[in-house]
Amino acid sequence: MPSLKDLRNRIASVKSTRKITRAMQLVSASKLKRAQEAAEAARPYAEKMQGVLANLAVGIAGQAGAPKLLAGTGRDDNHLLVVMTADRGLCGGFNTNIVKLARQHIQSLQREGKKVKILCVGRKGRDQLKRQFASMIIGTVELGGVRRLGFSNVQPIAKQVLDRFDAGEVDVVTLFYARFKSVISQIPTALRLIPAEVPKGTKTADLKGGAYDYEPDEQDILTELLPRNVAIQIFRALLENQASEQGARMAAMDAATRNAGDVIAALSTKYNRSRQAQITKELIEIISGAEAL
């Protein structure tokens, strides 16, 4: 039986925990709003880009000499996985879910005898993957210091990916991130970045049998557009990820706040009961003492 003082201390400590979790929830809520707006603002560009790419891909796919970023290197022995997670924890299953998906992917690739390399964006993902796949991690990018993610923050990551591809180190690049669906639902997603994947149902412009004039020619445009598309997709994934992170944290902290409230209620009841029991006991002692005289 804990003493009254112990109970009081525990109640005080749970109360201060609740204050912290509530503050974190509120902070996430306001960050979420901004992150969500940014993610939504980035969608038109990414979608238009895919539309343009789809248009071009239809014309050029299958031809000899199609750019490697679109057609692939013809091999799939070396895989690069870009795993995007948060730099901070306390956001429920957010980081774990992304890492879990990546891990499944890595294991199935290993079974097929492929070589796997991992590029981590965000510290938490690296920490979790390091335990099992330390030798495969080729680098980590931390965006912790970035307050507002701009397109310029993404260029170095894209450059790293493209340089490795150009050097022939990797054949297939896959992106892992959490797609933001709603505050309570973020979906871990794997997106194949290279060779470029044109999602089904992408709207392509209807030219009514006409054809584009290309200025400069098709090949030049594609060689400019494809690397840019890589950067755009990474940018978009990062923005979605940020919104997801805040959403996950908000939900997790909301649950924690509520849980702390429950614990406080239970402890308070226990505290009041034992205080009452003690008072009753003292009274009985006094009364029975007086009767004995």
Binding site: P44, M49, V52, G150, D206, L207, G210, Y214, E215, I221
Partner: protein
């Protein structure tokens, strides 16, 4: 006059989506004007000024850098790596771009990349002198 649909988007946001009469686009192989019913064209952009003409209003001008313009039967879509209203463009930001371009030249690994960076730099300088 027939209107056409025009979208100007940068990676960070959608700047304009409207029905307009005419848009002058700084293409990498020369400026060109687009009206409704223009033949389908796909072109890269050079850093420059894009102006939008709508009847009864003064033309809107935007600074665009890097990206693509796509003309389809539905209208014109400009995907710019960077886009901002001319009013927000000042000499300092442009100087910054010029400096970046100069660094690109020193960083360039092969002749083709250096060529591209040099072209960008020249275009930026031209724009800078026009701005005064």
């Amino acid at each position: 006059m027939a209107k056409m649909h025009f979208d100007l988007v940068s990676p960070e946001r959608l700047l304009i989506s409207a029905e307009v009469d005419q848009v002058d686009v700084p293409g990498s192989e020369g400026d060109f004007g687009v009206f409704a019913g223009h033949a389908p064209v796909m072109t890269t952009l050079r850093p420059g000024v894009l102006s939008i003409v709508t009847a009864g209003r003064s033309p809107e001008k935007f600074f665009v850098r890097g990206g693509f313009a796509e003309v389809t039967l539905q209208g014109l879509t400009v995907l710019a790596e960077e886009a901002m209203p001319m009013a927000e463009l000042n000499a300092a930001t442009l100087d910054q771009r010029i400096q970046n371009a100069e660094e690109d030249i020193t960083d360039a690994k092969d002749a083709a990349a250096r060529d591209r960076a040099q072209t960008t730099l020249n275009q930026l300088r031209e724009l800078r002198s026009a701005l005064g």
